[in-house]
Amino acid sequence: MAKLPVSIDKIIEQFGPSLNYAPKDGFTGRDEPDEVVNTHCCFCGMQCGIKLLVKENKVVGFDPWMEFPFNEGRLCPKGVQRYLQNNHPDRILNPLQRVEGKGFEPISWDSAMDKTITEIKRIQEKYGKDAFSMLSGVSLTNEKSYLVGKFARVALKTKNLDYNGRLCMVSAGAGNKKAFGLDRASNNYSDLEYAEVIIVAGANISETFPTLTHWIWKARDRGAKLIVIDPRVIPLARTADIHLDVKPGTDSALYGAMLKYLVDNDMLDHDFIDNYTSGFQDTIDAVKDYTLEWAEEITGIQKEKIKAAAELWGKAKTSFLLHARGIEHHSKGVDNVLGCINLVLATGRIGKPYCGYGTITGQGNGQGGREHGHKCDQLPGNRDIENPEHRKYISEVWGIDEKDLPGKGLSAYEIIEAIHRGEIKGLLSICFNPLVSLPNSNYVREALEKLEYYVCIDFFLNETARHADIILAGSLQEEEEGTTTSAEGRVIRIRQAVTPPGDARTDTSIILELAERLGVKDKFTYDNSETIFNELRVASKGGTADYYGITYKRIEDNMGVFWPCPSEDHPGTPRLWEDKKFKTPDGKAHFNPAPYKLPGEVTDEAYPITLTTGRVVSQYLSGTQTRRIGKLVDQFPEPLLEIHPEMAEKYNIKQRELVKVSTRRGEGIFPANIVETIRKDTVFIPYHWPGQKSANLLTPGTLDPISKIPEFKVSACKLEPLNEIAPLGTESKAYASI
């Protein structure tokens, strides 16, 4: 394993990304599909219900699933076009092996498996079990997430397994556990409708979770006040009552100042604080100096606006606070989350109708994928891998000796660092594209080039897979039965609509065969996805993420069941904490001091501008799927550098002029988009693209000390206009293929 076997251009020629459009003259037979399959979108954490139209084992279209209660047929452009990833010309149809100078060539499954097992054994015998690592993804169903966690610990016997949820909402998960002892959004989203005040903090809902906007607009129609906290005027902020344009990296100062204002003006729920919480005094002591004037200086938000927001929040009877990556992708992401939770607890507005709090999971199974044990520190049921009782329980379920169960391993970025240092020599990845999605891409690439063996399970040859020795042709979401858990905590059914094309196999069958060849077939005997789920139910029983009472049939009958659901006669739990019995050791909700700290990197003379990153509506995460769908690429063909007119004037940057953006990690070139919808001291680049157009060439590998989430949202950068206007149209679109 080293650098790419052939040039990028040759790889793209063979494996894309190429753009798939619906045929101009229509799909043959679309009007009369063989089958209509009720399932869910394969993209974000909303997991919208959708009907897939199937003809001759191909998905040829969609129909809105009007009856599904969350989205009632509504879809975003990604959902409308998602069916086009099926039957895509870039699809990997066979196992592939790397051939120097030639690229990737098909090999037999037997050879691919033989080589993989030989290399795993060679590396582990030579360097130890933990020298072989695994990276997993939360596009996987609950069943596959569970299977991966078990496979890594029982078959690979490595502790070094982590998942790409590490780049998503782990700060929220850590904050939730500290405050509530349980990691889930507190309510189903229908509670939003009657909330008096809604705070949306660091969540570009209108572009990243568009179907959720409906519930917020419903509340607005009922007179709800909306507070949007974001450095950019995101589309949701257009009609907001208050937009707090926070300087990236200063969120906790804002929440601290709002909390102090609530305390100073006695806008508190004393009964709730006294009876159902702990840690209040320490928490308010930590913000005693956080005046509005101080907060204005730190956050760049006018103190009158902070005061107005605190007044609105403090006086409301019902409220909802939602946040996402904007406050979580920080080296103090957990503090930011705790700052939000403190505002919720201080007003006691949780565990009541129309009162709620939660993170919005970005990835399809961001919620379920963080519960079933493919995190480096976690066992199924959201159990702690270092807790002796938890270890004992799972060891019994898995039929292994507890001493053989590995302990806590490295997190995703730390695995890359360990590869870079030469401590980890082998890697198996599934549905994870770290070369685009992790920060500091050049460093990640160097690490990949140091691996002695890299095997990947995926359905498209993503940018990271181009560095693999062997690619095992896996499956799309619609090619396997399973379940996912939406951002609301609703466990839902993913239906198999088609079988994998060509010689591709289901991810599950690939993992099971690897386990068998590693000599642990007896630990991996499953007839189908449902039997995996039934084992997951038992493994989660008694854990905080308790799925024991959820069955495939119950999900089917009820269009989803909310966890925790500890028994088959339990109705599930759409709204948490109505009993005020929290899952912390003392049974109380915990306030946690969240004092303001500097971000991992601050601006200076050499790098005077703050860079922040995020998403656009037509692209999804590292773009592996969406950069292959024609209309989604047409809608936003390339990443643009959003820059305020005043900053553009200062640096003499014109509309669509190419700008070199540099940080201490690297440099990229982006066309400028001069907009008044961003702070004057901040620029923004969406991160879905690789190569020269990768925002993550620029972002730092600074990690939150608790959640280990990278600080994607704050980099210090400098700008240099290149005196060249970026072409529009096809030339410009070509960047999407890099």
Binding site: Y21, A22, K24, D25, G26, R30, G61, F62, P64, M66, N71, G73, R74, L75, C76, P77, G79, V80, Q81, S206, E207, P210, T211, T213, H214, W217, K218, D221, R222, G223, V233, I234, P235, L236, A237, R238, T239, V617, S618, K631, Q635, P645, Q655, N673, I674, V675, E676, T677
Partner: protein, 190 residues
């Protein structure tokens, strides 16, 4: 038009610009209809992206007295008994663009590739069999809604549907409603 359809006469189309987030799911979904040749008949526009994130969405308003049909020299545009103004009859349309210039809302587009005017038919293929138009069905923010006046009244208590538009001395009544602040009865376009 035939009596064989199950077009629900009580259901109407409502557009709520305040809710539009500019995501273009409606355009993508409209283009999925093969009767359009995969061209969208609904259009989302940024008013001025460099200064605002306000977006507008423009669907055919299905005028009571459709000017596009009135000015058509080839009688290619028809309105049916349900109030749907249909896209140009392919055998009659001469591609003259009179309709494009005459429409006060700027809706019909001449598609050069086909030398044909095409416009929204309120998803007649769907609405005629009791389904809702695709754009309104998928709209993730509820900026587009298809249903009854009673439903919209319940759902949007602070808004009123308006389907009277005043262009100078010209008053145009439409089948499609725009959601306006409560109590509004007409929209005057200056």
């Amino acid at each position: 038009m035939s009596n064989y359809t199950t077009f629900n006469r009580n259901e109407e189309f409502f557009v709520d610009m305040q809710r539009c987030i500019g995501c273009k799911a409606c355009e993508m979904a409209c283009a999925e209809c093969e009767t359009n040749g995969h061209d969208s008949m609904i259009h989302v526009n940024y008013v001025e992206r460099s200064t605002t994130i306000q977006t507008t969405v423009q669907v055919c308003m299905h005028c009571e007295d459709p000017v596009c049909a009135n000015v058509c020299p080839a009688d290619a545009i028809s309105k049916d008994e349900f109030g749907i103004v249909h896209t140009a009859n392919t055998e009659r349309c001469i591609g003259c663009s009179n309709c494009v210039m005459a429409c006060p809302f700027g809706v019909p587009k001449k598609i050069e590739e086909y030398d044909l005017m095409m416009k929204c038919t309120m998803c007649y293929d769907r609405t005629s069999v009791g389904k809702k138009p695709m754009c309104a069905t998928v709209c993730p923010s509820g900026a587009l809604f298809y249903g009854t006046k009673e439903e919209i009244k319940e759902m949007r208590p602070n808004s009123s549907p308006v389907n009277t538009f005043v262009f100078g001395k010209e008053v145009v009544n439409t089948k499609v409603n725009i959601m306006m602040p409560k109590g509004s009865t007409e929209l005057i376009i200056y």
